[in-house]
């Protein structure tokens, strides 16, 4: 067991745990960022330099900032008072069951044991990634481009401020549904 791996795994899992348990949303988001950086370092450890840096660029540079903005836009900057969880026991039980089953499957798997213990570091050339993207994976690439455009437009449209205040309508519709 590698020492560096242990540190990185601990950092990642610990930060993720903090992100899911802290009270203040901004702290959660910052911990998520730390966890994602830890993941990127794990990618580097695995030899996927390109994927690691892309991870940092996209998650830290964009997604984390986006989440922080969303927190501020939904007035989440202050630590909430009162209950922050919802049906804690059942949720934890299910999550623990999922983890238990997964860990059981991983440890008990015979297929994993059949794989070689140590493999040489695969040489990952960025050029090869580029060639693949432009060759074999060009169709998914186009699809991703389309998806990103659609997501951009969709996000803008959804988040655009509506002209009239729909709050009254919302209350109406909610009260209306109460009636059987």
């Amino acid at each position: 067991m590698n020492f560096i791996f242990a540190i990185l795994a601990g950092l990642t899992v610990g930060a993720a745990f903090a992100a899911m348990t802290l009270r203040n949303l901004v702290h959660c988001a910052l911990c998520l960022t730390v966890s994602l950086i830890g993941l990127a370092l794990l990618y580097l450890q695995l030899g996927a330099e390109f994927a690691g840096f892309v991870q940092v660029l996209v998650y830290v540079g964009a997604v984390a900032i986006l989440i922080l903005f969303a927190v501020l836009l939904t007035r989440g900057g202050e630590a909430p008072v009162g209950r922050i969880t919802n049906s804690l026991g059942a949720g934890l039980l299910v999550a623990a069951a999922v983890f238990g089953v997964l860990a059981w499957a991983i440890i008990g798997s015979s297929a994993l044991k059949a794989l070689p213990k140590e493999t040489p570091q695969p040489a990952l050339l960025v050029k090869a990634v580029g060639d693949k993207l432009m060759g074999e994976f060009v169709l998914p690439l186009q699809g991703i481009a389309l998806l990103l455009t659609a997501a951009l437009l969709g996000a803008v449209v959804i988040a655009m401020r509506e002209k009239s205040s729909p709050a009254g309508v919302a209350v109406d519709s909610r009260s209306a549904t109460r009636n059987p």
């Binding site: 203040n24 901004v26 390109f50 840096f53 940092v56 830290v60 922080l68 903005f69 900057g77 960025v126």
Partner: protein, 416 residues
């Protein structure tokens, strides 16, 4: 001359030889990092004084000229000022607002400074002189690390619990996010042409000799020139330099996101900002201005690192000059420029690079004129449509807004 060129490399090798073989790689990295952490803060110190003096001259006043070597009469034309400033900020009381989020408030300056040093360490500052060489992904590493700046700005602005700080942080993040896109797109042109993300490779590609006497820097091509200008503009914005210094506009927001910082942490922010500026200048130099290579072949005898630092100083002076000359943009102008002018131009430049790549067999003159026309025509069109946006704006409430029209009560129409 080659020995002078490689003097630091050989020095490092010999120093490393003194250690046992197991430790050698770690010592090598450590030495490089120490060198980086010594040299660039030194340049920072020098820059602060130079900037103050130059700005003073621009404004027709003398600037700092008193502080020299203490207890002597030597004044060094005021170049001892940085030491005085440094001592002052180290000894000042560190004030933290009572409501502030102390942990985040404490971490923020480090989140700014550490990535700045990391970004500096991938720059090829001379032949065979790169502290952290990522042979595959140097440029990507640089941009990935740059993302930390935004995080730091947010942390500083949010944790201070100060309206000005938060507004400055929001402005800063919006600006950096917006200008990161043209920044990356304009540097992608170089990546496309060279076919590598490694800054070392990119610089080496520019050392080839063209027409017998000068090196083929990328800035000497139509796309390179356009890309360089776009990169420079975006770099100004990324580094929060005038005319894009809205996040810390002192006349509007006191000092932006680091309003609530003082003492050493303020100095760290200051340092981080300048290091970021050096780093982005260094990338501009590596991408477009041939990195450490001399402009002309007959100047090759000058050591490569001297060229790099000379260009870096030219950039610093250029930024100071801009700060002394240009007024600040408005927020809407800033965003318009990024999304409606720079982004289309960057995309167009990518297209032109493609054209340039596929017309390699053509007559040079034809190729040049095609690329130039492709760039200059849309530039003319875009900039024409932009002139209107920079005109003075009438504000909604400043314009005549009479009181709400009095609605005369309408008598009910009774059918007779």
């Amino acid at each position: 001359m080659a020995s002078l060129d490689q003097i630091f490399v050989t020095l490092k090798e010999q120093l490393v030889q003194l250690f046992p073989a197991v430790l050698q790689p770690y010592v090598g990295v450590l030495l490089s990092i120490v060198a980086i952490m010594a040299v660039f803060p030194g340049i920072f110190a020098l820059t602060t004084v130079v900037e103050r003096k130059l700005l003073a001259r621009f404004q027709n006043r003398p600037g700092p000229n008193r502080v020299g070597i203490p207890l002597t009469k030597i004044r060094l034309a005021g170049f001892g000022q940085f030491a005085a400033d440094g001592i002052k900020s180290l000894t000042k009381e560190d004030i933290i607002p009572r409501n502030a989020d102390r942990k985040v408030h404490f971490i923020a300056p480090f989140v700014l400074v550490v990535p700045a040093f990391l970004a500096l360490s991938v720059l090829p500052i001379g032949r065979n002189m790169t502290a952290l060489d990522f042979p595959e992904t140097g440029l990507l590493f640089f941009f990935a690390i740059g993302a930390a700046t935004e995080l730091s700005v947010f942390m500083a602005g949010w944790s201070s619990r100060n309206k000005y700080s938060l507004l400055g942080a929001m402005r800063g993040i919006a600006q950096m996010l917006s200008y990161e896109i043209p920044l990356i797109l304009s540097s992608l042109t170089v990546v496309m042409m060279v076919g590598s993300l490694s800054l070392v490779t990119i610089v080496e590609r520019q050392t080839s000799v063209q027409w017998g006497f000068f090196h083929s820097w990328h800035v000497f091509t139509p796309w390179g020139f356009a890309g360089f200008l776009l990169f420079l503009t975006a770099a100004c914005a990324e580094a929060n330099r005038t005319p894009f210094d809205l996040p810390e506009a002192e006349s509007e927001l006191v000092a932006g996101y680091f309003t609530e910082y003082s003492g050493f942490k303020f100095a760290l922010f200051f340092l981080g900002e300048y290091l970021g500026m050096f780093a982005i200048s260094g990338v501009a130099i590596s991408l477009f201005l041939g990195g450490w290579s001399a402009p002309f072949t007959f100047l090759d005898w000058v050591p490569s690192w001297l060229w790099f630092f000379g260009k870096l100083f030219a950039f610093i002076l250029f930024f100071i000059w801009l700060r002394g000359t240009l007024p600040r943009l408005r927020v809407d102008q800033l965003m318009n420029l990024a999304w409606k002018f720079m982004l289309p131009m960057c995309l167009l430049n990518l297209l032109v690079v493609g054209v340039w790549h596929f017309t390699a067999e053509w007559n040079e003159l034809l190729r040049w004129s095609l690329a130039t026309v492709l760039l200059a025509g849309p530039y003319w069109l875009f900039s024409r449509s932009f002139e209107a946006r920079f005109k003075p704006r009438t504000y909604r409430y400043a314009a005549d807004s009479p009181a709400a029209p009095v609605v005369a009560p309408v008598a009910p129409q009774v059918p007779i």
